[in-house]
Symmetry: C2
Subunit: 427 residues, 2 copies
């Protein structure tokens, strides 16, 4: 089958998927969880092939660890499928209901986007997670994983297809792409594909965005800030800064830059230095920071750098507005936080910072779909349209307007003979 055939088939399957009941989709999730457990040996064998090839080509230990899909991870995946099944059905929810005129009722209902193309990194468990999110939300999908996980992904795809189609899902609802050429061709099929979700490096996401007319949902950078206001609790400020930088530094919601109000810098920075030193964090400071604590000098491009490491740029500012301007200028519109006891200052920060997530007196590391209580996470979007911040199942939905009448036509409304009542109705 050509990629166009695969995409066309996915489009047809999407039509059928949109009509499936919650029961059918839940049964498919259950069948998949069972199949993953039953087929653990086959998955392990495929995974071994990938791991041997990776070791042979000298892949670093942390990446080998990420590539491995052991019994514990498989069990985690199966449990994740059951949690997903327990979430409310995102399909067919009415979000607006209005009587336009007696007997003429408008409804806005959620529905699956249709066909989604997802390009993700090497972790083979991502294959199952992404497939299950598409399944639950009624979307057909084309998945392209990392080259290193080729055999594992092929086996997982075979299992997903077989278990879910046996449970009632349409053939062709999920397919595996294997090469860069496949991805390149997929990006041209705006006729059949409604959304592309790229998960990977900043550069990678940018390349995808520039190569397709299909809408792209993703984030391309996590340059997050913590601003310590003049009225901050200094002990809270240090504790939150440490968590936001070191709890998981290679994540997109870890902070890269710390901004400190000049009036509190003398108090906070020495305490911060001690805490950061204890965790092996390298500080890069502006002139005023370096005058207060021993640290390396920051360079201007560091304000636009996502370290994904135990490195933190530090700047002393003269006002909250200076901090806000810096964040809006250098941030990636991801997650930015303020520490302060001054409620008015906090609310001003929350309103003025143009980011997906703006926090007051808590760590940026809370910016996560599961921590937000969404029950799932497709990714974290930093664009402004459709979905912003941590994206749950809602991000894989669109809506349609349904109007049910009794033969009404527009002409008498235009002439004034009939009038709209526009009565809101309960959902």
């Amino acid at each position: 089958m050509t990629l166009t055939d695969i995409a066309r088939t996915a489009r047809t399957a999407a039509g059928a998927l949109a009509l499936t009941s919650r029961e059918t989709r839940d049964a498919a999730l259950t069948a998949l969880a069972d199949a993953l457990r039953a087929e653990a040996p086959a998955i392990a064998a495929a995974n071994q092939k990938d791991l041997e090839a990776a070791r042979h080509s000298g892949l670093a230990a942390p990446l080998l660890h990420r590539l491995s899909l052991d019994a514990r991870k498989l069990e985690g995946l199966a449990e994740g499928l059951c949690s997903l099944r327990a979430l409310p059905d995102p399909v067919g929810r009415a979000t607006l209901r209005t009587e336009l005129s007696p007997g003429l009722v408008l409804e806005r209902v959620s529905c699956p986007i249709g066909v989604i193309g997802v390009v993700f990194e090497s972790r083979p468990d991502a294959f199952v997670q992404i497939a299950s999110l598409c399944l639950k939300s009624g979307n057909a999908c084309l998945l392209k994983g990392g080259r290193e996980a080729l055999h594992t992904n092929r086996e997982l795809c075979r299992i997903v297809q077989s278990a879910t189609v046996a449970a009632g899902l349409p053939e062709g609802w999920i397919s595996l792409l294997e090469s860069r050429e496949d991805v390149h061709e997929m990006l041209s099929l705006d006729r059949y594909i409604d959304l592309i979700i790229p998960r990977g490096s900043n550069e990678f996401v940018r390349q995808i965005q520039e190569s397709t007319r299909i809408p792209v949902m993703g984030h391309s950078a996590g340059i997050c800030h913590l601003y310590i206001d003049r009225d901050a609790d200094p002990e809270m400020a240090v504790r939150v800064a440490v968590d936001a930088k070191t709890q998981a530094p290679a994540t997109c919601n870890a902070i890269e830059t710390l901004l400190v109000h000049a009036d509190i810098a003398g108090t906070v920075l020495p305490a911060l230095k001690g805490a950061m030193d204890a965790r092996g964090v390298r500080l890069l400071g502006d002139r005023r920071t370096c005058a207060l604590i021993p640290c390396e000098a920051v360079s201007s491009r560091d304000w636009d750098t996502e370290y994904l490491d135990l490195i933190l740029s530090v700047k002393v500012v003269d006002s909250e507005d200076e901090a806000i301007r810096h964040i809006n200028e250098h941030g990636s519109r991801h997650t930015d936080a303020i520490i302060t006891k001054d409620r008015a200052a906090a609310e001003h920060f929350l309103a003025a910072v143009d980011s997906a997530d703006v926090f007051w007196n808590c760590s940026t590391r809370f910016a996560d779909g599961f921590r937000f209580g969404l029950g799932a996470e497709v990714g974290i979007a930093t664009g402004k349209l459709h979905a912003r911040g941590p994206v749950g199942l809602e991000g894989l939905m669109t809506y349609k307007w349904l109007l049910r009448g009794q033969g009404q036509i527009v002409a008498p409304f235009v002439s004034g003979e009939q009038a709209f009542t526009h009565q809101p109705l309960p959902l």
Copy 2:
């Protein structure tokens, strides 16, 4: 000022606009309504220049009529501003509130998208309508109108800027672009501009979509269908078909194709032919249609043609599913309707047709923001992301997540020491 300067200024103004109160924005709308009335002579003089130049270049009468901005239209605009002012504030609405853990509260609130570039056709009243929608929703904007309305738009822009800035809006929140080169350059400024809304011909919208990385909201075709099911009330079917084709044939929500179930075609088509003939509608039918009523033969490309005129393609189908397949294949995902007394058939149609608006027993001409009760209409979107169908003020909004805590950090939640409660809270 270069276009980059204008866009950068708009971005700064957007930051200030996002912080304006409803009172300020409403006062600006009032000031603008007053200024339009007070400056009617100046507007008329500018409009005269445009009308004279247009007459001189031989512009057709209907287009001259569209170009003219007389006292009656001005009064309509002023009244429109007052209606808009009365609508609820779309800014700052909480749409989700959750306690993640005691003292850690998440809120999802609506906020303006930021900077919007709008490229529209010749009608100068569109300038005021679009400017006011952006104002009400707290968005900065760059507007490019039709060349024929140059002097009128310049005068309107001067008045809008002067009245609204005097009422408290930030300088540079609205600017007028005048040339195609300006538009071309604007499309490259994804650093400062968040959304492009093109209003014009299908070809025009497509060109814009292909020339920019900035998200585009718009519709590029209105190929709408009416399907008359075997269980339709024949009289209702004819009445609705006539309204959907002839009430305003040059609009995007008028039908271009009629699909009729074979079992009712013999009854409905002759009555339809009579009604359509009386209104001067030219029918193009497939073989089976032509066997039942006198009409011209349709060609296959007609199924993909938006006539915007009193012309209607007609096809006889053997089943509802055939009608659905035809619509999903040839439609533009705009508005499609079914006439039937069979509720199950209707609900199947509503679920299976992949369009922005799907109607049962009413005219497609109801697909309109004002008729839907949205209170405003930015345009009608046929894409699936962000906004779909008639777009009201909500379509000019995005949202951000706000998390307010008391110093919480993530580490104890990861270790299990603390747990999420994820309690929904009232809005």
